[in-house]
C-alpha cells in the first residue's frame, strides 16, 4: 500500500473556528449564521429558509404600511411583523433556554443602615460599559463619602455609597458619563415603582 494519504479539507467557520457543522454548539451561533448562509448553505438548510422568510416578512410589511389606508392600520401591522422577525435574534443557550435580554438601565436604591444613616446603592452602570471601580472612586470623591463595589445577591455587582445622595447622583451620572440618558435611570420606591430619574 504505497498510497499516500491525502489530508481532508475541512471547512472551518470563519467566526467560531469550529467545523461548520458544530457552529450551533459554538459560543455565538447568531454571529455564525450570516457567515454560514454565505459559505455553507447546505449544512443548515433551515437557516436559508428562515432568512428568506424574514426577507419576505419585511417586504410584505413595507407593502402593507404603504397600501393600507389610515395610519392606525399601518402602525399595528408593522408592529406585529416587527415582533416576529425579532425572534431570530434571540440567543439560545446550550440547554435550549433563552438568555434574557440585558436591559440597559441604572437603578438607584436607598437602604437604611442605622436610624439616621443610610446608603445609596447604584446598580446597572456596567450595562453602559462603565468600569465600576473607577465609578466608585469618582462617586466617593465627589460626594466626600465612602463608596465601594459590592457583590449583590445575584452575580451582579453594585456600588454602595454612604449617605443619601439620590437627588444629586442623577445629575452627577449624566454629567460624568454622557452616554447614560436620564430616562434610563430609575429609583426604587417601595417595590420597583419605576420612577424615571
Amino acid at each position: 500500500m504505497a498510497e499516500k494519504l491525502e489530508p481532508a479539507k475541512v471547512l472551518y467557520c470563519g467566526v467560531c473556528s469550529l467545523p461548520a457543522e458544530y457552529c450551533e454548539f459554538g459560543p455565538d451561533f447568531a454571529r455564525c449564521k450570516p457567515w454560514l448562509i454565505d459559505n455553507a448553505p447546505d449544512l443548515y438548510p433551515d437557516l436559508l429558509k428562515e432568512a428568506n422568510e424574514k426577507g419576505v416578512d419585511n417586504v410584505s410589511d413595507k407593502l402593507q404600511a404603504v397600501g393600507i389606508s389610515g395610519a392606525d392600520g399601518a402602525a399595528t401591522s408593522s408592529s406585529q411583523t416587527g415582533g416576529t422577525s425579532k425572534k431570530e435574534e434571540v440567543k439560545r443557550l446550550p440547554g435550549g433556554k433563552v438568555k434574557k435580554k440585558e436591559r440597559q438601565e441604572v437603578i438607584i436604591e436607598k437602604v437604611v443602615r442605622n436610624k439616621r444613616k443610610c446608603i445609596t446603592i447604584v446598580k446597572g452602570l456596567e450595562g453602559f460599559g462603565i468600569k465600576l471601580s473607577d465609578a466608585s472612586k469618582k462617586l466617593g470623591k465627589k460626594f466626600a463619602t465612602g463608596a465601594s463595589v459590592v457583590k449583590g445577591p445575584t452575580e451582579k455587582e453594585q456600588i454602595d455609597v454612604q449617605g443619601d445622595i439620590i437627588y444629586d447622583i442623577v445629575e452627577f451620572i449624566t454629567d460624568t458619563w454622557p452616554d447614560v440618558p436620564e430616562r434610563s435611570i430609575f429609583f426604587i420606591e417601595d417595590g420597583k415603582k419605576v420612577q424615571a430619574g
Binding site: 500500500m1 504505497a2 498510497e3 499516500k4 494519504l5 489530508p7 481532508a8 475541512v10 467560531c16 473556528s17 469550529l18 467545523p19 457543522e21 458544530y22 454548539f25 459554538g26 459560543p27 446550550p94 440547554g95
Partner: protein, 181 residues
Amino acid sequence: MFKKFSLEEVSSQNQVKASVQRRIRQSIQEEYPGLETVLEDLLPKKSPLVVVKCPNHLTLVVVNNVPLFFCIRDGPYMPTLRLLHQYPNIMKRFQVDRGAIKFVFSGANIMCPGLTSPGGVLDEEVDTERPVAIYAEGKQHALAIGFTKMSAKDIKSINKGIGVDNMHYLNDGLWKMERLD
C-alpha cells in the same frame, strides 16, 4: 484537559536531538500505522522537532510552530484535533449521541450510557487505555479525542461510569492555539 491552555502555560520549549526525534517518530508510527505514508511530511527528519513541556506532565510535539501531537506522562502520543480532521481514518471511532455533545464541548468525560444509547456507536475491538476519536451522532467530523478507561466490551456490559476520558475537545485551549508563536 486543555480547558485552560495558553502560551503562558508553557514551561519549556526544547529542540530535540535526532535520537529523541527518531524515538518519537517510531512510537507514533507504531500507534498510527495509517499515518505511515504521510509521516515523512508531518515529521520530516530535517526539520527541527520541538518538544514543548507544560504543567501536568503534558508534552506537545510541535513542528514549524504548529502542535501536532501531545501526550500525558509516558502515555501514547495523540494527534491534535486539527490533525485528526485532516486524516480522519487513523484512529478508532466512538460515537456519542446528540445529547452528549454539549457536555463534551465543556470538557466532560464520556459516560458509558452516551455510547450505548441508540445514537451511540462502539467499536468492539477497542481495548482499555487506548486513544480513540469521538464523533457525534449526525456529524461528519471528530468532536474530541479521548483515552478509554474501559474496553468496549466492558462499556457495553457494565454501562455505568466513565467510559472514555476526554483529553482534547473542540474549542478547548489546545484547539484555539493553532500556532505557537
